[in-house]
């Protein structure tokens, strides 16, 4: 039975999550040098166009279609055959199946866009498009099926991931690390400064992301009621706690930075994502505040290793997602969401084990698959521009444009 209130909420949530991908483009675009702003934004918006089509043609089918052995969805729903206006009770009985499908589309779009932070300022656009299409097909599709698809083996195991801590943030964060290792450092990295060219763009992007995240987490309730309201509150709370915590850490080290506050907010939003439908607002405070600590020191550590994972997708989304998935196993309460489970702090240590196992599986799978695909694509199509193109900047060399 279709409920108009629930449907209205899922549709506006879809719009909000779609907005997050261009917002991410600005978040990343402001952090690169001026000669690469447009190319960085382009990585996000080209994914929006590409994966929107992929998801309709076959992406939705392999992620959410009829289960094949717990591993992958079948091809029955290719081209959205049989996916129509009537609800599909297995996923959401109260909204049109198309509404569920297009909401999931927005997630499939933003996840590969998150990875782009790893290789800005040196990626070859054609190789990038090939990589994204392969990644959506061979990493995102399967993992979404395992955790969220009916019959998926991690779902059957009882893994809790409300809005994509593992499916979105761990896959993206880990894959970013793998690709950064393949593609190598930017020319002059560590020797010449890599000045962010437009911090206001980054702040604009960060807070459009915050805005969109209400759809990301709140919409994942798939209904417009108590659970959505609860997810809404913990999302805002965790973001605020993490932003404050990051600001304080940066203040202790030297000065309270705007960029730090914005980064902290995003990290908090990442960490609360898997937990947002299962935890109380006070737990959200703890999850957010700690997320900033872990990510902050991971950035410091990453910088020391000399690895040029340029915009710290691993430190922000990988670490934030891992912490969020584990925190779900600590802080989850059946009192908040009866469809969930209790976590360790509420008397159910086994859930923590399931969460830890899920993290391990998704981390290893994402890393190995991405590393292998990255290597092959680099060998066949090449993932990196020439040195001269990198010097001139990708805006001119890849796209023939300048931002301003």
């Amino acid at each position: 039975m279709i409920n108009t209130g629930d449907t209205a909420w899922i549709l506006i949530s879809t719009a909000l999550v779609i907005l997050m991908t261009p917002a991410l483009g600005f978040f990343y675009g402001g952090l690169v040098r001026r000669k690469n702003i447009l190319s960085t934004i382009m990585l996000s918006v080209a994914i929006l166009a590409l994966i929107s089509v992929e998801w309709v043609l076959y992406g939705y089918s392999i992620a959410f279609g009829p289960d094949k052995g717990g591993i992958i969805g079948g091809l029955e729903w290719i081209g959205l055959t049989g996916v129509g206006q009537a609800p599909f009770a297995g996923y959401a009985a109260n909204i049109p199946h198309l509404a569920f499908m297009v909401f999931q589309l927005a997630f499939a779009v933003i996840t590969p866009a998150l990875i782009t932070g790893a290789f800005v300022e040196r990626i070859k656009f054609s190789g990038f498009l090939v990589f994204v299409l392969c990644w959506a097909t061979f990493v995102y599709g399967p993992v979404a099926h395992w955790v969220w698809g009916i019959g998926g083996w991690l779902r059957a195991l009882g893994a809790l991931d409300f809005a994509g801590g593992t499916v979105v943030h761990i896959t993206a964060g880990i894959s970013a690390l793998a690709l950064a290792m393949i593609i190598g450092k930017r020319k002059g990295y560590g020797k010449t400064p890599m000045e962010p060219s437009n911090i206001p763009f980054t702040v604009l992007g960060a807070f459009l992301l915050w805005f969109g995240w209400f759809g990301f987490n709140g919409g994942s309730a798939l209904s417009s009621g108590g659970l959505a309201a609860s997810a809404f509150v913990v999302t805002n709370t965790a973001a605020a706690a993490a932003a404050l915590s990051w600001m304080v850490i940066s203040w202790i080290h030297k000065r309270p930075s705007v960029l730090g506050l914005a980064t902290g907010a995003v990290v908090g939003l990442v960490a609360i994502t898997p937990a947002s439908g299962f935890v109380s607002p006070l737990s959200a405070l703890a999850i957010g505040a700690l997320a900033s600590v872990f990510s902050y020191y991971m950035i410091i550590f990453r910088t020391k290793t000399g690895l040029d994972e340029s915009l710290d997708v691993f430190a922000c989304h990988g670490i934030g997602g891992i912490w969020g998935a584990l925190a779900t196993g600590l802080f989850a309460e059946k009192a908040i969401n009866s469809a969930g489970a209790n976590g360790l702090f509420f008397g159910n240590p086994a859930q923590f084990g399931i969460q830890a196992f899920t993290v391990m599986v998704v981390v290893s799978f994402s890393f190995i698959m991405t590393f292998v695909m990255g290597k092959i694509i680099d060998a066949v199509f090449s993932l990196r521009v020439s040195e001269n193109e990198e010097d001139v900047g990708l805006d001119i060399s890849q796209h023939g444009e300048t931002a301003y």
Binding site: K35, G188, K191, T192, N388, G393, I396, G400, E401, T402
Partner: protein, 114 residues
């Protein structure tokens, strides 16, 4: 009082290499300005929504430093080596005589103020 001002028009992307090379030879102080200009290659074409448009002036950097007359040749050598790609558009170097230099903080004049 023999000082020269070296004014070099260079590619934007060469700034860091030039700065590091100059510093190695002891030239620390310099002023950099974003400028637009054109040479024999004239402008370039950029992408419009459909087709292209022509930009008649290219963005470049103007780098200015004042040095002792005896250091002019070594500065030119550093600049030409660090800023060169071998393709049109590498830029130009102009050299001017300088009458005097005054350090604002102390009022010192001449080479002491460099």
């Amino acid at each position: 009082m023999d000082m020269k001002k070296i004014e070099a028009i260079i590619r934007i992307e060469k700034l860091d290499e030039v700065r590091i090379a100059l510093e190695k030879e002891g030239f620390v102080g310099m002023t950099v300005t974003e400028v637009k200009g054109r040479g024999s290659q004239k402008g370039i074409t950029l992408e419009w929504r459909a087709g292209e448009y022509r930009v008649e002036f290219l963005p470049k950097l103007k780098l200015e430093l004042v040095v002792d007359e005896f250091d002019v040749e070594s500065a030119i050598k550093v600049l030409t080596e660090a800023a060169r790609t071998g393709k049109p558009g590498d830029g130009k170097i102009f050299i001017y005589p300088v009458d005097n230099v005054v350090r604002v903080r102390t009022g010192e004049r001449g080479k002491k103020a460099l």
